[in-house]
Symmetry: C2
Subunit: 220 residues, 2 copies
DNA sequence: ATATATTTTTAGCCGTGTCTAAATATTTTA
DNA sequence: TAAAATATTTAGACACGGCTAAAAATATAT
């Protein structure tokens, strides 16, 4: 009763949309997965029959417990693989996501355990995303978007979006990695740039880029 | 123009049958791939259209240069991954094949290079099979089957079949690994057992098992 | 050489996951 | 609150890679 790669990808996407506290609509999935809305509808029907999601027509879907379990399993694979590729084989952080997209579906439980062991049971991936443990538990942090921080504050980068390699290389050049402390100097109005200091260097970055960084309070 | 996993598997199987100097028939592929003969015929048609094999009706298939290139590419992936899993993650040699069957299809060229580098450009996998280099070249050894060796001779294990985990564990218990020297004591007639000495220990193994071991001459 | 057995191909079907176009439901706007 | 815009579902098609059953070609045996 193994699930197809397609089903796994849908469940993962549903989880990711849910965790942004957004309603999981046909169109949001259509956009995220790059498939036509009609295709999403037919897949939703299948997921619903398999009791992986609940669905009220025209109302969007929600993961069931069983669907959530699968989603977290795949996300665990994805994030473990990302970190493993970086640590063990030196794959740059802007490339690990693409590799993990493929590997996450073919990782055996045994290999998952070996990788987890090798990495010392890590709790976050190269982009700062939490890695669920085998039971699906992960560390929740109280993070907010970089653009919501008050000028003058010191914060620590919690997580950056892993989907755009070019953006990641841009962040990398400035040292904007998870766990790095940054001081916000100013946030210009009218969608203006954010000026910040990273490791003694000052940078100005646009709102578009900053949106993809989330932060937590700096250690006391 | 990426090829499907199915196509890759067919090409790999065709290569493997060809390299046993056997005609690649519909039924041999059917058996190897565990699909109905009719399915093989329809896939052969597709491979033929894509110029990956040549086919004369009722006569079997042969890889074209382009088909051979793909087959060797996948076999390189498979064998590199097998060795990598053993070396880097300690996966036992009876389990690496199954993992590699899945990973071989999702390995990027970049990762292939990194793994190759990590392993120091290896030339054979954990079962003794040669690993093609990036150009498809590999070291050919003049090996023969263990059951063809004359009693009294010392030989070195070249290669063991990687398809049966149980068999591999059985071999492993006796230390029958590639590059190991064995001395053949006797080969009983009427499909009788082969008695041999491995690292000072004497064992008797059946013909069925011995068939899956190939050997080369011991170093002078 | 002919009958029989085996192998291969053809024909037709099915499940999966996608698509486009059209119908229908919901949401927004006026 | 009715019309317009948008979102979702339905209908019907298609490529892929399987399947079974039947037909045709090849190989084997008498
Ligand atoms: Mn797992
Ligand atoms: Mn990631
Ligand atoms: Mn193998
Ligand atoms: Mn390759």
């Amino acid at each position: 009763m193994a699930l197809s790669q397609s089903i796994e990808d849908y469940l993962k996407s549903i989880y990711e949309i849910e965790s942004k506290h957004e309603n999981v609509t046909t169109s949001s999935l259509s956009e995220k997965l790059n498939v036509a809305p009609a295709s999403v509808t037919s897949m939703i029907k299948k997921l619903s029959e398999k009791k992986l999601v609940t669905h009220k027509k025209y109302q969007g879907v929600k993961l069931t417990n069983s669907g959530l379990k699968v989603a977290l399993e795949i996300i665990r694979h994805h994030r473990l693989v990302e970190l493993y590729l970086k640590e063990a084989l030196g794959v740059p952080w802007d490339q690990v996501h693409e590799e993990a997209e493929k590997w996450e579906h073919v990782l055996s439980e045994d290999l998952e355990d070996r990788i987890d062991e090798y990495l010392g049971h890590p709790t976050s991936d190269p982009h700062g995303s939490p890695i669920p443990d085998r039971n699906g538990n992960m560390i929740e942090r109280d993070s907010r978007n970089l653009i919501e921080v008050s000028p003058g504050a010191k914060v620590i980068i919690a997580e950056v979006s892993d989907h755009n390699p070019e953006l990641l290389r841009y962040f990398g050049k400035m040292g904007l990695y998870p766990e790095t402390e940054v001081k916000i100097i100013s946030i210009e109005p009218f969608q203006g740039p954010i000026t910040l200091v990273v490791k003694g260097e000052e940078y100005s970055i646009g709102r578009e880029a900053a949106k993809y960084i989330s932060v937590v309070e700096a250690d006391a």
